[in-house]
């Protein structure tokens, strides 16, 4: 009996490890290529490990395109998006979830309706608004529309709704106003929700492609995803350089993922249960 279980487990491990290989090989291939010379990257048959680990591709990318600036742009727009979007969503979620005021349900329904529509529908008018604001080709252009999220509001509202009503009633009797209740009592209690939203938003802002590509076209104003895409156009055959760019572009989120993997995975797992 025990033996057959062991064999079954071995079999399961073999399938799972095959999956691991398929998942991980492209990442390894990216890293190995990024440390090769241009010549070695085109060797036939290909070498697996670089014969000498070179940093050429990494240094070259900083001199070929304003990569440091692009990196900084991405960090700024991601940080601003995360901070403001999470703040706005959490506030709104508290309002919708726990305060009564006229037309609340109607307004909330309007907010939710945004969730039902594929994002491309908004792109052309959003582009024109940003243009009329004179913000094309600036960092704020990248993050402004992303500061307001119906998804984030909906997610956080779920967390507020799950807290017991008595919490506030006691605080109101003690003479706290709504803002004190929000800051001192509620925020600490919805921390898991905030962490989830921070992760979702950071990942989205860091990886976003179409919108930043549309609004910012000069090389010094780009964020990472569009900049990587131009790398392909200009240096189409310089694979080590492309891979070096890819390594640096994906690293921050992957590091973040390894640190907060529990929160990453739980956040996603919950999306299925709540949805």
């Amino acid at each position: 009996m025990k033996k057959s279980k062991n064999i079954r487990h071995l079999f399961v491990h073999i399938i799972l490890l095959a999956g691991v290989t398929i998942t991980i090989t492209p990442f390894l291939w990216m890293v190995f290529t990024s440390f090769k010379t241009l010549g070695e990257s085109m060797a036939i048959p290909p070498t697996i490990f670089p014969s000498k680990w070179q940093l050429d591709a990494y240094t070259k990318i900083f001199t070929s395109i304003p990569f440091a600036q692009v990196y900084l742009n991405t960090i700024i727009s991601a940080v601003v998006t995360v901070l403001l979007q999470v703040a706005f969503c959490t506030m709104a979620a508290y309002g919708f979830g726990r305060i009564d005021f006229p037309f609340k349900n109607t307004i909330f329904l309007i907010v939710l309706s945004v969730l039902m529509v594929p994002g491309q529908i908004f792109l052309i008018p959003q582009y024109l608004i940003i243009m009329h604001m004179g913000l094309l080709d600036t960092i704020p252009a990248v993050f402004i529309p992303n500061l307001f999220s119906a998804f984030g509001t909906f997610l956080m509202r779920q967390f507020f709704m799950s807290l017991p009503k008595e919490l506030e009633e006691a605080a109101i009797l003690d003479g706290c106003n709504r803002f004190q209740i929000f800051g001192r009592i509620m925020l600490p209690l919805v921390k898991p929700g905030i962490v989830s939203l921070v992760i979702f938003t950071a990942k989205f802002a860091w990886n976003d492609f179409m919108w930043p590509m549309i609004v910012n076209t000069s090389p010094t104003k780009m964020t990472l995803a569009p900049a990587l895409s131009t790398l392909q156009g200009q240096y189409g055959t310089r694979y080590p350089m492309q891979m070096a760019g890819a390594v640096m572009a994906v690293m921050p989120i992957i590091i973040l993922f390894f640190i907060f993997q529990k929160q990453f995975i739980e956040g996603v797992a919950q999306s299925g249960i709540k949805g």
Binding site: L16, G19, T23, F88, P118, F122, I124, I129, S229, G272
Partner: protein, 308 residues
């Protein structure tokens, strides 16, 4: 309880001072999101609809043209080609992706060692920037120096230019799409499996059900709401596929036409050809198709999704 409280409120007197203070606080809390969504999403939604009845030139001046964009769209073979491609993408990637993620979730939903290791690795592609993923896979598929052809050669197989061959390019992009999303969906499905009550399995075991019977007669039926959720989100995501296609299949590729999706077409008309009115009409078309498909799913779910 909650209902009772509301009933007490119904014979409305004038709102008390405290209630009014609450109203003000409520409006202040929701103001940033509500105003932001109005300006950057709800107003644009209406404007986009309006644009679809306009010619919008390169300088973004709109002139009303009635149904011209739509009548052009109805006879545009390019639109039907992209619609066909998009449908093909959805019809292939969604079932294959779903099958693989259910399989992996089922394998991980046992008393196996290294569970969190597997989960972490499988989740990795879904946090990775799609543009970077596309660059990596483009390099893997490369016809001359790519690792895929080198591996095939070891097994004595002839490689080829995967991404410029019309009969393979689109499938190669689909593989990348599946590679990106399987781990993510697996996490959701695994959470669904873990939420199934142990007592159901115990009852099934008492009735003599083996692991296989338990999977097909307990796990799968109980998992249908989660499967439905994953399916709906995957289908909607599939209709909006853009990044990988745009990155991997260049304009000069022989396979260009056979790989363009509706959103790629929308992007080109809107932001490369400067035909924003026509692009707006395309985006409305995509929206309508997604709505119809989703409504169809919602209707169809009654036949196979279990809700207790």
């Amino acid at each position: 309880m909650a209902e009772k409280k509301q009933q007490v409120k119904v014979p409305k007197k004038k709102a008390s001072r405290r209630e009014k203070k609450d109203w003000v606080a409520g409006y202040l809390f929701i103001a940033p999101v509500t105003l932001g969504l109005l300006v950057f999403y709800i107003f644009p939604f209406i404007q986009n609809f309006w644009f679809s009845f306009n010619n919008v030139n390169k300088f973004n001046m709109a002139t009303f043209c009635g149904l011209e964009n739509y009548s052009k769209m109805i006879v545009d073979t390019e639109l039907y080609q992209t619609l066909w491609n998009t449908l093909k993408y959805v019809v292939i990637t969604v079932p294959v992706g779903l099958f693989l993620s259910i399989l992996l979730a089922a394998l991980l939903n046992s008393e196996i060692k290294g569970k969190s290791f597997y989960r972490t690795i499988y989740f990795l592609p879904s946090v990775t920037m799609s543009v970077a993923v596309s660059l990596i896979w483009k390099w893997i598929y490369n016809g001359e120096y790519g690792i895929l052809n080198a591996i095939l050669k070891v097994f004595g197989l002839e490689g080829q230019n995967w991404l410029s061959n019309q009969s393979t390019a689109f499938y190669c992009v689909m593989i990348v799409g599946i590679w990106c999303s399987v781990g993510y969906n697996m996490i959701i499905l695994l959470a669904g499996m873990q939420g199934i009550s142990k007592s159901l399995y115990e009852a099934a075991a008492i009735d003599g059900a083996g692991p296989k019977d338990q999977f097909f007669h307990v796990t799968m039926p109980m998992l249908t709401p989660t499967i439905f959720f994953v399916m709906i989100t995957s289908i909607i995501g599939g209709f909006q596929v853009f990044d990988t296609i745009y990155m991997m299949i260049g304009k000069t590729s022989m396979a260009y036409e056979s790989c363009q999706t509706m959103i790629a077409m929308f992007y080109r008309y809107g932001f490369e050809f400067g035909k924003k009115g026509y692009a707006a009409a395309i985006s409305i078309f995509v929206f309508l198709i997604i709505m119809v498909v989703t409504a169809f799913q919602m209707w169809g779910q009654k036949k196979w999704v279990n809700y207790d």
